[in-house]
Amino acid sequence: MPLKRGIGVSSGVVIGDALVLETDEARVPKRFVSEDQIPLEVLLLDTIFESARAEIAREREQFAARGGAELADIFGFHERWLADPKPRKEIANLIESRAFSAAYAISIFMRRYRRRFEDMGTPFLQERAKDVLDIERRLLHHIGGESRNRLEMLEQPVVIVAHDLTPSQLVALERSKRLLGFALDAGGTTSHTAIIAAGLGIPAVVGLEDISANVSSGDTIVVDGLHGVVVINPDTSQRESYAADAEHLEEVRATLDEIRELTAQTEDGTEIELLGNIEFPLEIKDCFKKGAVGIGLYRTEFLFLQDDHLPTEEEQFKVYRQAVTAVGKRPLVIRTMDLGGDKCRPGSGVHENEKNPFLGLRSIRYSLQHLTMFRAQLRAILRASAFGDVRVMFPLISRIMELRQAKFVLSLVMEDLEQEGYEFRGNIPVGVMIETPAAAICTRELARESDFMSIGTNDLIQYTLAVDRTNEKVAQLYTPADPSILRLIRGVVRDAKRCETHISLCGEMAGDPLFTILLVGMGLRTLSMAAGNLPRVKKIIRSVTRVHAERVKRRVMSFETEREVLNYLRDETRKVWSDI
């Protein structure tokens, strides 16, 4: 009955059979092994090569028997490549000198090898890069093949346990309808996978560090996303208590369903605009189902994090147009790529040498230094704007010059599009994320030059409190309830209103029902959050008056510690809705 603590990313509780995914095809996690493990990893390397080679040999024979001599020859070549001792020797070197796991060493070697062809540029060798990719895929398939086959054969829903999951894997799993919940070694609340899980309402705990090594497929496992706890093989009393929790949550969900169609309005008639946060157009439906009246934050960086190539303007345009179509007449705020920090393009090499990536070349800074990419994205967004209420928002603005530069690039792109005869929304609203202390302090200046602003609390908190919440040694210091954060937010809202610039809040704080009364009291009238949080927040809004919310705010602003703030807000929130 071991119990493990991690970070809960959605409020559900689930009990089910575990399925441990060793690794995956798209991304091999960077893993190190201990010194005595090294010979075993080298042995594993041989096994992987040998099983890949044997598989190809079988396929070659099948093709040869069916008369496909040419294909058989290609396979013959792959087979010889895999039998070549040279690659194994180089990979074994990586394992021995860097203590990489066999899987990771293989992926590193193959990526470097493949890049040699891609860089050469002549069509002759680019063709060859495809062969190498084929070999690479086959090897990776043999690393993770076993677990994937099991996944395809699944008949019953399971709890996935893995080192990490990519957002696209998560979405695919969710669509398979066999995913009860998941527990991961990696990640924090702001990881993309966690954000999507919260949006989809899938119970999940991340940041468990070594859960994948401590669970075997078939174990019974409890994932308590509310408390960030995972219990492996629970005893009878634990089972009963978690089953009761799950049942209670189900009841709460049912009561929330009842207000789904109703507006988010306080008892004294102040309407709050509730919007959804998304990463994929396919999440839009869920947002509307749960009561959103638009999309307040469409994070686009996922498009750039997929493995093989940068998305072209045309590819982006298709995705954005798909989003606009799904949103219909309602607003869609597209945020330009927020790359860097913890979101790096694999193999881009750009951020690998940064000592302090969160203070480095990320987000709008990255965009302004990669103008070709940035322009392509703006072109795609603008072209999509011809189809609906599209607005564009720039992330991580920390000085007014960045906003001016970004707007300048936007205006140049508009000129180009006009000359090329494309339709777009000429007066597309331009917004700024307020997520650095610098931007919060200089809200007025930014407000004068933008059409709307949105407070991104995740980064604002991390930069203001100087806390990395994925660092467990200091994670407890990370809180939206710190008086410094609350004063910053209050100031931003006040300044924005004075400048008559529309202000919203789209960080995780917006989706935490504990802060709903306070945010309404501060004067926020637009909140954007993951779909899964919408019903609760709406429930709170419909249970308070604006006058009361303002009273709560005044009281909260007088507190000196985050403890007092949290205790008071908890009490006040429970008074209006005991089921929180």
């Binding site: 020859d73 290609i74 013959g76 070549f77 010889r80 490549w81 070549d84 001792p85 040279k86 690659p87 090898y113 040699r116 062809f117 050469m120 002549t122 002759f124 060798l125 063709e127 060859r128 062969d131 190498v132």
Partner: protein, 94 residues
């Protein structure tokens, strides 16, 4: 002729239309592997092992490209002769 040769060099020119693509590389490696000598293939600054498909793939050799073959070992001369024949036969293609 009975004297052992330990070092041998020869220049060959790729003459098949498609150049040194996967299938010719495979044939080349197969022939090279039949000999005990170490065999290197050089082109510009590249110097690769003729018995390693991994390294041979790095050779960018189209029709007309000249390659320098260098062998060390008891059967060096025979090895290079066999490889030169293979290249001249256009790897059985065209």
């Amino acid at each position: 002729m009975s004297e052992k040769t330990t070092h041998s060099e020869i220049e060959v020119r790729i003459s098949n239309v498609q150049g040194l693509h996967a299938r010719p590389v495979m044939r080349f490696v197969d022939v090279a592997s039949r000999f005990a000598s170490t065999i290197r293939v050089r082109k510009d600054e590249l110097d690769v092992d003729a018995k390693s498909p991994m390294e041979m793939m790095l050779l960018e050799a189209v029709q007309g490209t000249a390659l320098r073959l260098v062998a060390e070992g008891d059967d060096a001369q025979q090895a290079l002769q066999a490889l030169a024949d293979l290249v001249d036969s256009k790897f059985g293609e065209d």
